[in-house]
Each structure stands twice: as structure tokens, then as C-alpha cells.
Symmetry: C2
């Protein structure tokens, strides 16, 4: 049985990307060795690296005054690196506390500077993103940190808070699913393992002008300037992960780029939200309609018992990875870029069938 993988991440990759990697893994370009065995000083790997950087620039439509960095440690390390590099006495970091990921970001922010909640969704049970007028910025705010998509709560930010303060965005879970309005951002970061490649690499975009004023008294790996100066090759990069990110970016470009990805993500999510809304409250979305994530469709069934049976029967039908995050329970369909419309239709069909049998 061919499984359909709704895992929240690591997640589906385009099959063609994996097949190419397989075909090239042992003997890269006829060199008689694997790319992962080669020195990162070249000549083969730097060409792969440069191509990944160039593709990221092109596919993400990155302005020339941003740097493209491939780092390690996931978004979790960026939760530290952002405040370490950007905050200093007199400059605070505002955070939109929109859910589980934003909470982690602000917790680490508080260790490295004056980080504060500019909005906290606790009062609305994290069922939506803030309206711009709800965000309260303090004087001396260096950046406003936003989590563009919360994978656990299943909410996504549509419309960016342009409040006169540069944004820093964790886009780990909606990278490549829509254009990024660069003019609002100083830093954008995200782990690769949902929309962009395998786990083990973090793609960071930095407005170059901010490098002059980032903190310098940091260990080498923790300084953005260290990676920027070395074009992410100052220390040994995660070769395999960057190689595959390049292949995924190629695939996205062939699909038609960000515009096509955005349209596809709307189409996929539309099918599932329609299935939920048409179910007469059998399936319920806990998310306010204006903030419904196009990446992670979270839903509940009438009882815990029905949820358990739904998950078990779905898995038996080849629909896997649908269990909600352990902190909130319920069901969650993660439908990143590599998910096909057919995959989503299969799930919607199963949902209708399960409701008919149990509703």
C-alpha cells in the first residue's frame, strides 16, 4: 500500500528529489565518490552550495541586499541567535506570542535581552493571529518577532504587522508556500524539514545592512557575521541537507515558483476546510476562519473515542501522520508543498466515509 504522509515535519519531499539523490548518492557526477565524502573546499561541493544559494535567491525572490545563509541547529538555535545578535541594552525585542513556537522563541529571547510579549493569544486560546491594532509595541523596540504559521495550533498569519518596526519571522512551517514581503523584514529563518528539504539545515535570510550593528562578542558559530563572511562555509556545512534543498528549490521552480506553490496550497487547504465545514459539526476546526493555516489543518471529532478510531482507520487506509500534537490532541493534516491534491482528496474522501459510518 502506498502511504500518504501527513506528518507535521520532517515531512513529504518530492519523490523526484529523493530519486535523484538516490541515483547520485554513491557516485557523484562520475567522480567515483559521494558528494558527502568530498571536501567542502571543493571543487564539487562549493558548486552545489553556490547553486543552492542562487536558487534560494531566485525562488524565494530575495532582494539583492539580503544574505542567504545555511545554518544548523534548526529554528531552535535561531531562537537564541536572533536576540543574541540583535538585542542590546536599550533595544527590546517584541514578540507576537501566537502559540507553542512563539512561546519557545520569546523564552530564549528573554535570556538574551529585553524580550516582551507585544501580543499574547492566551486570551483567545491561541485560536487566531492578532489584528495589527492589537499589537502593542514599546519604545526602543529593535524588532517584532512573528511566527508566520503555528504548526500545533494550526493558525497562520495573513497580512503582516507593518507597524514601523522591522519584523523577524520564523517561517519554518510555511516557507515556499507564498511570497515574503521583504520590505518589512530584517531576518527571516526556518528549518528545512517541512517545505524545503530534509532535517539538518536552517535557511536564514538577513538584511545585510543590519550586520554592522549586530553584536560581535559572540562565539563564532553564534555570530551571523561569521556565517555571512564565510558564505555559510566558514565551518563544515551540512552537505547532504543543503544538496537536497537545492534539488527541492529546483523542483519548486519547475512547478512554477512561489505563485504556483501558493495556489496549490490554497487548493489543498480548501478541500480539507470544505470537508470540515460541510460535516455539520462532526469535524470541528478550533481555529478562527481568518487564521486557518494552509499548512496544518487541525480538527476535532465529537469524542476522544471517535478521534482514536478515526486515526486508526485512517492509518489502516494508508493515511498516516494525522495525530494532533501530543500537547493538544485531536487530528492534524500537515499539507506542505510536496503534498499532492490527490493526497488531500484521498483524506477528504476518507473523512466523508468515516462520518457517514459514525456520524
Amino acid at each position: 500500500m502506498k502511504l500518504i504522509n501527513f506528518s507535521a515535519g520532517p515531512a513529504m519531499l518530492p519523490r523526484s528529489v529523493l530519486e535523484q539523490a538516490r541515483d547520485e548518492l554513491v557516485d557523484y557526477g562520475g567522480a567515483g565518490m559521494s558528494l558527502v565524502e568530498m571536501s567542502h573546499r571543493g571543487p564539487e561541493y562549493p558548486a552545489v552550495h553556490e547553486q543552492a544559494v542562487a536558487l534560494a535567491r531566485r525562488v524565494f525572490e530575495v532582494p539583492a541586499d539580503f544574505s542567504v545563509l545555511f545554518l544548523q541547529g534548526g529554528a531552535t538555535l535561531q531562537f537564541s541567535m536572533v536576540p543574541m545578535n540583535l538585542l542590546c541594552p536599550g533595544k527590546a525585542g517584541g514578540y507576537v506570542v501566537s502559540g507553542a513556537w512563539a512561546k519557545k522563541a520569546i523564552a530564549d529571547g528573554r535570556l538574551y535581552g529585553d524580550a516582551y510579549a507585544a501580543w499574547d493569544g492566551a486570551g483567545v486560546h491561541y485560536c487566531r493571529m492578532p489584528r495589527p491594532e492589537e499589537i502593542e509595541l514599546r519604545e526602543g523596540t529593535r524588532y517584532l518577532h512573528v511566527t508566520s504559521n503555528e504548526t500545533i495550533g494550526g493558525i497562520q498569519m495573513f497580512g503582516w504587522p507593518a507597524l514601523g518596526v522591522p519584523l523577524v519571522g520564523d517561517m519554518s512551517s510555511d516557507y515556499l508556500s507564498r511570497p515574503i514581503p521583504w520590505e518589512h523584514f530584517d531576518v527571516v529563518y526556518g528549518g528545512a524539514q517541512k517545505n524545503l528539504g530534509p532535517a539538518g539545515v536552517t535557511l536564514v535570510f538577513l538584511r545585510q545592512a543590519i550586520l554592522e550593528s549586530t553584536n560581535r562578542g559572540l562565539g563564532a558559530y553564534l555570530r551571523y557575521g561569521y556565517h555571512d563572511d564565510g558564505n555559510s562555509l566558514a565551518n563544515t556545512p551540512p552537505v547532504f541537507a543543503i544538496w537536497l534543498v537545492g534539488k527541492v528549490l529546483c523542483w519548486v521552480e519547475k512547478q512554477g515558483g512561489l505563485g504556483a506553490m501558493e495556489a496549490a496550497s490554497r487548493r489543498r487547504a480548501g478541500i480539507l476546510y470544505a470537508a470540515i465545514d460541510a460535516s455539520g459539526d462532526f469535524y470541528r476546526s478550533p481555529v478562527e476562519p481568518t487564521s486557518r493555516s494552509l499548512m496544518n489543518v487541525v480538527f476535532r471529532l465529537p469524542t476522544d473515542d471517535l478521534e482514536e478510531r478515526f486515526l486508526a482507520e485512517a492509518a489502516a487506509a494508508g493515511l498516516v501522520g494525522l495525530k494532533g500534537h501530543r500537547s493538544v490532541g485531536g487530528c492534524r493534516a500537515s499539507i506542505y508543498n510536496a503534498m499532492s491534491v490527490e493526497g488531500v482528496e484521498a483524506l477528504a474522501g476518507f473523512m466523508a466515509q468515516f462520518r457517514a459510518a459514525n456520524g
Copy 2:
């Protein structure tokens, strides 16, 4: 032509490991998807992860009171994490400054605590490791940091400084080439990309008793306790790299474990040092005989011009990656665990031939 890869890292991996990874890359265990597409919460990946941890314990002969962690960011991030976690006012870090890598370690150490050079090889041009009596420890030293092998200088530490202070060891370049005397160490760390797997994962061994007194006010990713509590699964791990490390560890075990690896490394290095010593000063090792690295055999030829021709003709004969590090020039044969005796014999044969033609 089959190339023989003397790259200093990323470096050769056992062919069988790459072939297995290739065969399993697209469809893992008949699941119809790749391991790199699966959630790190399971069930497939956690089994792979646990096996890699268990194999590391067994193959490295790790005592039960040490934790085994798989982190990201390479040794470079450990240069920060070690002092961040271990140093505090009143506790200093001593460093054996044995070459290029130790200099990076102490530079980051100084940013996060009272780090000092307990010995500096500058006076001997970094041509050897210190004798124990040359190491000067201050009162209140929390640890003595050693770099067990310097890849650029080509020197290796034989005999560990047991001076009553716990050691912290960067073993990036000689992991798995000999047993580790655990009783002397609090922390051992190393990037995988030389002896252990592909780039993108750092294997860290921690004496569990020290976790109680490590610093807590650090960002999540930077706290050893965070990774220890989560068994290196607290955030998304670098799945592919850990998977391959497991396979390399399996391969080492099948070869006979550390004892067999150590014997093989002595045999390989012996062949090359014999070729150097028998060359009547045509090839010269700049390293003191007592510190000659079994991993990186550094040598010079009579002139820069001869070195250039040596490297070009060697490459033409399929012997690649022999150029010395750009900071020191000369030649360097990196002969990690996956290098065969035949590979080293081919190089020794070429060296004899080149000398006969040019000596």
C-alpha cells in the same frame, strides 16, 4: 578511474554504508517513503535514533554514566557550548593550544569565561603536543581542553594529561581510531565528517554527574541539559546524518571495533611515515616523531615547485585531496578509518615513483 580520496574532511565513508543508504533512501523498510520524510516522533525514526545511540555506546565503549548526544553545529558550536555550560565566576578553563583547532576553541572560550592557555605550542611551531610537565594549570581550573588531533599541523596526542583536572576533548579528527580513557574526561565531542559519518551531526559524550552544575540560563539549543533531557530529540534532529552514523558504527563493529580500527590506523600511517623516512629528506615531516598523527600525515617536498607538480601528478593518478591546508601549504594525506591499506600503499608507491623521477 577509481579515485582515492585523501580529503581532510568531509572524508571517505565505507562504500557499503553509502550503498545501503542509497538502497533505502526512497523507500525505507517498505514504508513507501523515505526515512528523511518521517516524523522524528516515530515510530520508525526513534528506532533508528536509539540504535545509533546504543551502537555509539557499544562501539566507543562508553561507561553507563555518560550521556550520548547527537547535536548540530559541528565542533565549532561546541567551542561555545563547552565554556557556556561549564564555566562560571571562579572556575577557569585551561586550554592546550596545540594548533589551529585549539586556537579556535580558546578564542570562543574567552568570550564565555576565564579561558587561558595552559600550554601554547607557538614556541615549537606547533610541531608537537605538550609533555604533561609542560602544562601549567591555574587554581580553580574547571577543565583542561585538549584537541586530540590537529588536522592542519598533523600532530596527535598520545598519552593524556592526567593532572587532577577533568579533560574536555575535541576528538573530531580521531574519533573511532582508538579507545577513549573515559576516566579522565567530563566531555568529549567531535563532528562526524571525518571518521564517523557525513557532515551535519556532532557526537557529544557528557559525564552525567556534571549536568547538575552546568549553567541553566542559556537558550534551549545551547544547554546540554535540554538535549540530555530529550535524548537529542527535543528539537528535530539531523535525521540523515544520524542514520548514516549508525551505519558507520555498525561497519566499525563488524571490522572488529576500536581495537581493529586502532591497529589499522597504525598500519596505514606506518606505511606513509616509512615512505617519508626512507626518502632521504626528499619528503620531510615537519612533525616531531612522538606526535606524528595517525590520521593526517603532513609532509613537504624540497621546493614549492616540486610540491605543485607532486599534487598535480598525484591527482592525475587518481590520488586526490592531498593538498595541505591553505594556511600552511605542503601536502597532507588524511587517512581516516574508511581508508584502505591498499589506498595508502598506492600513495606510498606513487611517492617512491615521484621521488625516483625527481629526486
